[in-house]
Symmetry: C2
Subunit: 329 residues, 2 copies
Amino acid sequence: MITIKEIAKLANASSSTVSRFLNDSGYVSDEARKRIEKVIRETGYIPSEHAKSLRTKQTKVIGVIVPRLSTDTSSRLVNAINDELAEHGYQIILANTNLSPAKEIENLKLLRSRQVDGIILLATNVNEELIREIRQLPIPLVALGQEIPGISFIVNDDYGAAKDMTELLITRGHKKIAFIGVPEQDRAVGYFRKKGFMDALQEKSISICNEWMAEANFDLSSGYEAMKTILQRTAQKPTAVFAVTDSIAIGAMHYLMEIECHIPKDMAVVGTGNSRVSQYIKPSLTTVDFSNEDMGRKAAKLLLHHIKETNGEPKKITMTYSIIKRDSV
Amino acid sequence: MITIKEIAKLANASSSTVSRFLNDSGYVSDEARKRIEKVIRETGYIPSEHAKSLRTKQTKVIGVIVPRLSTDTSSRLVNAINDELAEHGYQIILANTNLSPAKEIENLKLLRSRQVDGIILLATNVNEELIREIRQLPIPLVALGQEIPGISFIVNDDYGAAKDMTELLITRGHKKIAFIGVPEQDRAVGYFRKKGFMDALQEKSISICNEWMAEANFDLSSGYEAMKTILQRTAQKPTAVFAVTDSIAIGAMHYLMEIECHIPKDMAVVGTGNSRVSQYIKPSLTTVDFSNEDMGRKAAKLLLHHIKETNGEPKKITMTYSIIKRDSV
DNA sequence: TTGTAAGCGTTATCAC
DNA sequence: GTGATAACGCTTACAA
């Protein structure tokens, strides 16, 4: 590898002069400038970022931790984060937890060892150990999707969205509404969306039937099973179903179609998240859009802010959402 | 930041001993081992990868260049690449070109400056300059999706898949088949898929009607427009349409539905790529699956191989595909 | 079995 | 304006 020293020698200058030239710091005479420029062009010299970071303690790299990359939400977020960061000369180093909480912590360490300037964590399960690790992190971190006390985070208005969506269903005349959720460990999706749903019913004095409540994981097939469970165990069928994710909703729709239950005539279905599929399925799915694109860019900006102002107070941002009305209701 | 020297001091050892302990290289007495272990645990010491790479010339980081992250293909590939590399202790640094050829080259330089151990390039437009840049890269690179002479690449059997799919259409009795392609600069998708289509027709002595050929870009809406163009300019309507990507196919379907042309009765539609949506739309789309997952893992393995055997000959791998028969035919 | 010291490629300080 | 030189945190001969 060609180094700054060799460039210096070839250009008849010292490495300090070359460095000054490269970083636009301090004086370099026009003549020296020309010579150095020429040598660099001819040799195709590329400075080593490692040596640079070792000195400057700055890497211009941001770590991004995601549960899985191959979901709509993750890929949209990462894309947006990357776009925004690239504009500021930063790059992304990816860490995938494959949904394992242990790996979340491991990745935190890994990224730290790479001296990333900051971390964006797309959180799923927030546990004590994770919070402890984050707290003692010497670099800024922004969490996405889940509230983490004491640190900056950006979340969706899961509660509001679920409540609004449920109210939409009620407005359309539904009183018997089923619910397919996920475990409440996932505060955002499991707890808040459920709470929004329940509160909406409560406020309208509509009773909640336990037989109509089921729990799925994030898979399409689990949505299918949950819908099946609900319909098989109850005599009195609901007329609508609220699913906390689009995948679950689509799974549920598959079961409904299988038993020839017409959507939305016999059963209205709503999802959450506005996945790319949701608009192409038949009937197209009524869902809520969380503008991941916007969230990603905001996360990047917030992180950059924290990198500049190391003493900045933690910020809490709640994103807005919009209900997308389609044909499944 | 706490350094190896401080650990050494606290553990009453020298930094070399600590280093030996850390890397399991050379002798460390049990006693020293215990002391060091304790200090590291207590201090939460994490070695600096930068200093390490500066010395060892190894970063355990792989650069991955993608055109866009938010497409099915990219996100699946990156996910698979990441999984495979993570198993070998490597991490990924992402570079997004946002479809700009200039950025492809720029990113190559950027990654080089980060001294990545290797690069995986999800190529779209292969031009002279890009090839030149790649050739003079001092680190191994594996290209995905496009053939690049002289370097290792993994491609889909675009030609075979298109031909097979067209033959399927012919087998089903279609003789008037329309085609929606993309510009041929994209050799894989634009040129080879078109060639496969044409050759299949030629072999069965089926005439190709220019009025039924249209060009789209990769957007859904361009598929819609292309379908419209074809049907509006021809008196004699085709009975089937081959689209070189699923997005284009879905766009075409949207137009067909709009004019109440029944799929597949009035018009059969096939796509390419097996996007996630393709199975959920109605009617579900007949398409070809390229097993991106497998391709990603293979790419990672191949790159790792080149990193080990720097003198390895360039390898050319062609992936197999499978036709997914669904309801749109 | 352990420690010393040189060196990786930069930048920053300071003297010229 | 420029150039020695030390330092960043680590590994690795080599000496002890």
